[in-house]
Symmetry: C2
Subunit: 468 residues, 2 copies
């Protein structure tokens, strides 16, 4: 019998405090070295995750297993097994699995899973929120002005890594199936724009042409990534590709983007004043986040990344809510404290899930080095496609990070049996390296604006706006 009631949220409180403190310390340290705060958040996450893992700390051990933990929990709930039973049947035997089993079987095991699932969901909301805010700082007019450049960057940035990947595979792993090589190529194509968006944000350069081109290219990239995935899985599963299917995917994605942005821009100024007139309070906050959540969900429904929907929502509202102030504060400004509190959760958690022990496999490192070089060259080549008048190097570097999209690709490839464990480790290494390289490299090639430390509320006020 419980001596007293334990609030189920107590462990989550500690986890959030811990993450917030780590983020603050990490960000502070790297900013002293002139780096964007996000790099510090990633690094402090990596440090804590690996130290705690070596010390067999059960909660961190559970958290760093990331996606696997969610799958274990779902498996355990839908089959007649415990968490440990599910983990045993899902993970290959080995010392790493032994640690996970110990952690899951410990007294705090199930509660640690609960903490992970909450913090993970919060971090996913955080990155949706981040891209919404970036969208709010990006004008559609400007995006259209750089549209053709973004499109070129995206096309080159997908085609080059794909073909370089195919070539590299033919050289170093000859005799593998075409499907295998196509998967590797596909994994190399997808830019993960979260890191770049955050770096531009840290540097106060969200309004730059380079930032707009990269964001536009990332949206196009996401659509192209969908197509590549459809083609490749079609080839692997059915041995053929349906032109009809590919066209349908493209059409859905384009209709979603053009339709939602068009309809949104038309509807918002007609709808919001009416809702306000009825007497609703805080329409700006409710309508803003409501739209962001709705479009994120819708984007995910048609197969795009949630963050593409959130970015679209931001684009829609940039026009309206910038020129329309409630209580002399813009929506962007009002959301700043929330941003400061939740966005670092995503990046610290990302760091926590980087497994340094992957670097102990020599063959994986070899393969990872080649993949990383191909990944970097493939995107740097895309830089000059941005055309004249912008820093091609900034654009190329901004396109470097591969993140969850690449990992999703890899996990589907693993499920299909075309990607083995070593290749999978190599891909994770490639993702880690490209992600960690981006903040310092961008910091070097893109000078900061004067406003060195964006602070909530004040940040939004002092950020220079383009005169559109």
């Amino acid at each position: 019998m419980p001596a007293h009631y334990t609030d189920p949220v107590a462990l989550i409180l500690i986890a959030l405090m811990f993450i917030g403190l780590s983020a603050a310390v990490g960000g502070w340290l790297v900013q002293k070295l002139g780096q964007p705060a996000v790099l510090g958040e990633l690094l402090v996450g990596i440090l804590i995750g690996n130290v705690a893992y070596w010390l067999h700390e059960p909660i961190i051990t559970v958290v760093r297993e990331g996606d696997v933990v969610r799958q274990i929990a779902i498996y355990a709930l839908t089959h007649t097994v415990t968490l440990v039973g599910a983990a045993k049947s899902m993970l290959p035997p080995g010392p790493e699995t032994a640690r996970v089993l110990t952690a899951l079987g410990s007294e705090v095991g199930p509660r640690a899973v609960g903490v992970y699932l909450f913090v993970d969901a919060l971090s996913r909301l955080a990155v949706i929120f981040l891209l919404f805010l970036v969208g709010l700082e990006t004008s559609v007019t400007e995006m259209r002005r750089v549209g053709h450049r973004a499109f070129s960057v995206a096309i080159v940035g997908v085609v080059c890594p794909m073909f370089l990947g195919l070539g590299a595979m033919a050289l170093i792993m000859p005799g593998m199936s075409l499907a295998h090589d196509l998967f590797i190529g596909g994994i190399l194509t997808a830019t993960s724009v979260g890191i770049t968006a955050r770096v531009f944000h840290d540097l106060g350069r969200t309004q730059s042409t380079e930032a707009r081109i990269i964001l536009g290219a990332a949206v196009v990239d996401d659509i192209l990534g969908l197509l590549v995935l459809a083609v490749v899985t079609g080839l692997v599963v059915r041995g053929t590709v349906s032109v009809w299917g590919i066209s349908a995917i493209t059409l859905k994605a384009v209709v979603f983007l053009v339709g939602s942005i068009g309809a949104g821009i038309w509807l918002t100024p007609r709808l919001v004043p009416r809702i306000r007139r009825i007497g609703f309070r805080n329409v700006r906050l409710l309508f803003g986040l409501g739209l962001a959540f709705a479009l994120s969900w819708l984007a995910n429904r048609i197969g795009l990344a949630t963050i593409v929907g959130a970015f679209a929502a931001g684009l829609i509202l940039e026009r309206f809510f910038t020129h329309e102030l409630e209580d002399e504060h813009s929506l962007r400004e009002v959301l700043s404290p929330l941003e400061y509190l939740v966005v670092p959760v995503f990046f610290v958690l990302m760091g926590l899930q980087v497994k340094l022990e992957t670097f102990l496999n020599w063959h994986a490192i070899e393969l990872a080095s080649i993949l990383t070089v191909v990944a970097i060259i493939g995107k740097l080549i895309a830089g000059p496609a941005a055309g004249r008048g912008v820093s091609w190097l900034s654009v190329g570097i901004g396109m470097l990070p591969r993140g969850e999209v690449g990992l999703i690709f890899a996990s589907i490839g693993k499920a299909l049996g075309v990607v083995d464990d070593t290749v999978f480790s190599a891909i994770i290494l490639m993702v880690v390296v490209t992600t960690l390289l981006t903040p310092p490299l961008l910091g070097i090639v893109m000078p900061r604006t004067e406003q060195k430390h964006p602070v909530p509320v004040r940040a939004a006020t002092t950020t220079t706006r383009s005169p559109d």
Copy 2:
């Protein structure tokens, strides 16, 4: 194989949108009728929860089972059973259980559990956040000034319902064990201050003497509740009460409150400028929420409610961060949008978990009516203990709501076998009625201030501060 990747947060996005929209509509409707917004949030939750339940909507069915769902999930994860298996072995057979089993066994079942656990954790964070904000608006000097009044109100408000409860039980359920009657009495004592705090907030009266007395009394109430629970469970489990144990509990609680508030007020102005000087950003936000989370966790560790810790953190920082502005915005002001977004989640979720079908049991209604009358009289009598110069009716009504503390008491009683199903239903009805009565009654006896619709950012600026 997945045709595409589904972001695990997609369903949570929809849930949050849905809750946000419901809260806005509910709040708007009751405000038209001159009622505090929180009443609308509760009512809209009740409406949706019960309609969706009758329509067999699986996600809402899972959500409205509330605490039981968490226990089912934990049981399923720690034993070798599925969610459905766990529910079967935990719930009594009957039509209601059949619905829950169908919902849990449906395709969205496990995902609905995930959504519930996230939204529930968020709502618990929200109420912690709310009490922190209320603390930020309450000065320690003022609290000490009303200390003796709050203490009297708390003592009378615990002793009266306890003895009235014992008396009522002796009359209507003679022959029950003393333990049973003491449990019922204990359940009637604990005020749940979340609702009252929110109502004062909605009415713009957080700064009133009545509000301070009620908040102080609620803190004392929580300590007394701990003692009552210890005494009663001691009697039931061991048949005896340890004076030593009771003294230890009291000492721990008092040391925690006096110690943390004293140390906090002394340390904050010495610590914060130093942290800021090192170059940390947003110290106010980080330190503020960090302290709130830390004290909430600590309060829970020693057996007090998490919200008592959050309130103490607010009290500590009221002094410091009110007089110390970063960028011309107070901490209270910067947190307003977050408050507006997350706090209603708690109240809508509370409404969603009210089961109207409980009202179909005649015996439960009879018992509930008596318990409710006793609960109301017991607390109204405590009103005059506030002394002269304040509205005793406001204080009495403000003490009415019984919430989770009563339910926790009841569930421990159920686990010990001293509270049966009918009594349990009656207790839930009593909790629902006292909770729903408080907002409209307080709205009647306490006039609103001029500032009718507190709006984020502006609200904090225009709220009049006491000149302490």
